[in-house]
């Protein structure tokens, strides 16, 4: 992973000092709230429903064990002893005091972390494939390029006041594990027919009240031109994106208004003026950054399969965990392990300080001291020897994190909703719990198989309900929480926006409504067909009929 040098550390120390001064001026009244708000937002500090909320950037979702322990310390010393991992691979603390914020940023800087650009109308934390550098299906390590984009976009003076927030995702796998189709810019690292590696560039994706799947801007961009091309896109958006209406300010609206071809022409016209200029990253700097992302030296794997087979036969929990939470590694003697943060009575994505510390220790012991945060609000320990999987499972089970839920109906993506968020219309966390309880039978969850169920507490769609097999959107109907259900969304290679099935349900009625949809699937599925495939084959009609029999 990338390791800070003196330039990075000096930069963070300066930034932290600046913010300390800004907070002092706010507290003294030298800065009014309307002046201070954009400054605090650019340091990740929101005023939420109960208190200030601090969103800490986890660049492309990668943490060292020490950083995870550091975050646990922040949770314990400045918050209520837990943190919330988000779909953008960041972590949020919910009970921050403004007076403590400068000390927290100093603390974070001490272990090379910060909250820069986790909010505000700027280029946000770059997200990426949580398996990058550890998976057999990738063209190249996506995190090196993510880091290059992070450095380029951090405090980029031209893009500090964009029309609206801007999100970039990078993915290099055959499977898109970074939802690139739902980002302002999605970058897929691809290989051309001649074997050259470059980027397929997508633009104009996003969720919120106007969900759009990104369109292709270019099928192949040479690697050396990445920064000039990104800069050209940003310039077109910065100049032409709408600033008069917050709901029409994202690049997806601009791309749609111009049409993808006219947008491409505008980008190309800008690009010719800067292509191959000083905007491009010098080769030496590129090599320096990419050098941090070399594959780790892995020990010789041990013979493991007999041991694993025996263990699977005797432990049902281990068998489920192996089936759902073990992801393939480029070395067949190794594995990538998902730690599921989805359980009954646990808000999806939440982890206590003690759990975070324990996970850091496990990553040191069983992996390479590295932890990845996933888009689906789980954690991954990459590079684990398969022979050590039984021991790792045992250790995870001891701390209550041995659940094998990855990709199942229980693996819900869920925003904090009205329990924490100032924007929400309805709660999402208790609903996630009730749905989990409804499907509390392990065998039933296994029988249903892969099914993405996502919940958002409002139309801003932080819970990615548009991109789910079953999406749930909280709405406020005459003062009462209601939930709209949609079907057929997906975030991967074939990204699609789900369609709303009909009128909304009360909270009490939602679990049974979900069960109805699941029953239609179980009844109609063919052989090994998963939920998404059945929906694609049948369309929404049979699901709609079952859900609204009297319609």
């Amino acid at each position: 992973m990338y390791v800070y040098d003196n330039i990075d550390r000096t930069f963070l120390a300066d930034r932290s000092r600046q913010f300390r001064d800004q907070v002092a001026r706010r507290l003294s009244g030298a800065l009014r709230e309307d002046e201070f708000k954009p400054l605090r937002l650019q340091n990740g500090l929101y005023l939420q429903l109960h208190a200030y909320m601090l969103r800490v950037a986890i660049p492309y979702g990668v943490l060292s064990g020490d950083q995870m322990r550091g975050l646990a310390g922040v949770a314990r010393d400045f918050d209520r002893g837990f943190g919330h991992f988000t779909t953008r691979q960041n972590i949020q603390f919910n009970w921050i005091k403004l007076v403590d914020a400068p000390d927290i940023l100093d603390r974070l800087a001490g272990f090379d972390m910060h909250a820069v650009q986790t909010s505000g109308n700027c280029i946000r934390n770059v997200t990426s494939d949580p398996l990058a550098g550890a998976t057999p299906d990738e063209v190249e390590h996506a995190h090196g390029w993510s880091e290059i984009i992070r450095q380029w976009s951090t405090l980029h003076p031209e893009f500090a006041f964009l029309p609206r927030k801007f999100k970039i995702a990078v993915s290099a796998g055959a499977e898109d594990r970074a939802a690139t189709g739902f980002h302002d810019i999605g970058l897929r690292i691809v290989k051309s027919r001649s074997g050259e590696v470059g980027f397929r560039v997508l633009v104009g994706g996003g969720q919120g009240r106007t969900p759009r799947v990104a369109q292709q801007l270019t099928p192949f961009l040479p690697k050396r031109n990445l920064l000039s091309y990104l800069e050209a896109i940003m310039r077109v958006y910065n100049a032409a994106g709408r600033r008069d209406n917050i709901y029409k300010a994202r690049i997806k609206i601009l791309v749609e208004a111009m049409g993808i071809d006219a947008f491409r022409d505008a980008v190309d016209a800008e690009w010719v003026t800067i292509r191959d200029s000083a905007v491009e990253l010098p080769d030496r700097e590129r090599d320096r950054i990419l050098g941090h992302f070399a594959r780790p030296t892995l020990g010789e794997p041990e013979i493991a399969e007999d041991k694993i087979r025996n263990q699977r036969e005797t432990s049902r929990g281990f068998d489920r965990w192996m089936r759902h939470n073990i992801l393939p590694h480029y070395d067949p003697g190794y594995a990538n392990v998902t730690i599921s943060l989805k359980q009954i009575n646990r808000p999806p994505g939440d982890a206590s300080a003690a759990e975070m510390e324990a996970i850091a220790d496990l990553a040191d012991t069983f992996g390479q001291g590295e932890i990845r945060v996933t888009y689906s609000q789980n954690l991954i320990i990459p590079h684990v020897k398969r022979s050590m999987l039984p021991e790792l499972y045992k250790s995870l089970s001891t701390i209550g994190l041995g659940g094998g839920e990855d990709g199942l109906i229980s693996d819900m993506i869920c925003c904090p909703g009205l329990d924490y968020c100032n924007l929400a219309n309805a709660r999402s966390l208790p609903l996630a719990d009730r749905i989990f309880e409804h499907f509390s039978d392990l065998g039933m969850r296994d029988e249903i198989g892969r099914l993405r169920l996502n919940i958002s507490g409002c139309i801003n769609a932080c819970g990615h309900h548009h991109a789910a097999d079953i999406g749930i959107l909280g709405v406020n109907k005459k003062g009462v929480e209601h939930y709209q259900i949609s079907l057929g969304g997906r975030a991967g290679e074939d990204a699609a926006v789900g369609s709303i099935l009909g009128p909304s349900f009360t909270e009490d009625a939602v679990p049974a409504a979900i069960a109805t949809l699941v029953d239609v699937y179980l009844h109609h599925r063919q052989r090994d067909e998963n939920f998404a495939a059945t929906v694609t084959r049948l369309g929404a009609a049979p699901f709609k009929r079952a859900l609204y029999p009297n319609a």
Partner: protein
Amino acid sequence: MMTDRIITANWLQDGAVIWMTDSLGWSIDRSVAGIFSEARFEQARGQAVLDEQNNLVTAVYEIVIDGKAEMSMREQIRANQGPTVAPPSDSGPHTQMTARK
């Protein structure tokens, strides 16, 4: 029709949710929130604006007491000073905690 209102905000320093009391101070205890009739409301709001200008409080707003607005889920959650589901904690496996529903 006479309208009764309460006034709420956050402490600037720590962000805690607070209510204006009958004596025009602030409390984190919702049960001691002053209910301001039309006659007293201007005075109460004037004090809130002053406190905001003096950098004591932020995000001030008023809620009309109509049997609905002040009872909304949002205001109940604010008044309870926390979420309706228990977050995980260090004090033991979270699965043993009882959700506050």
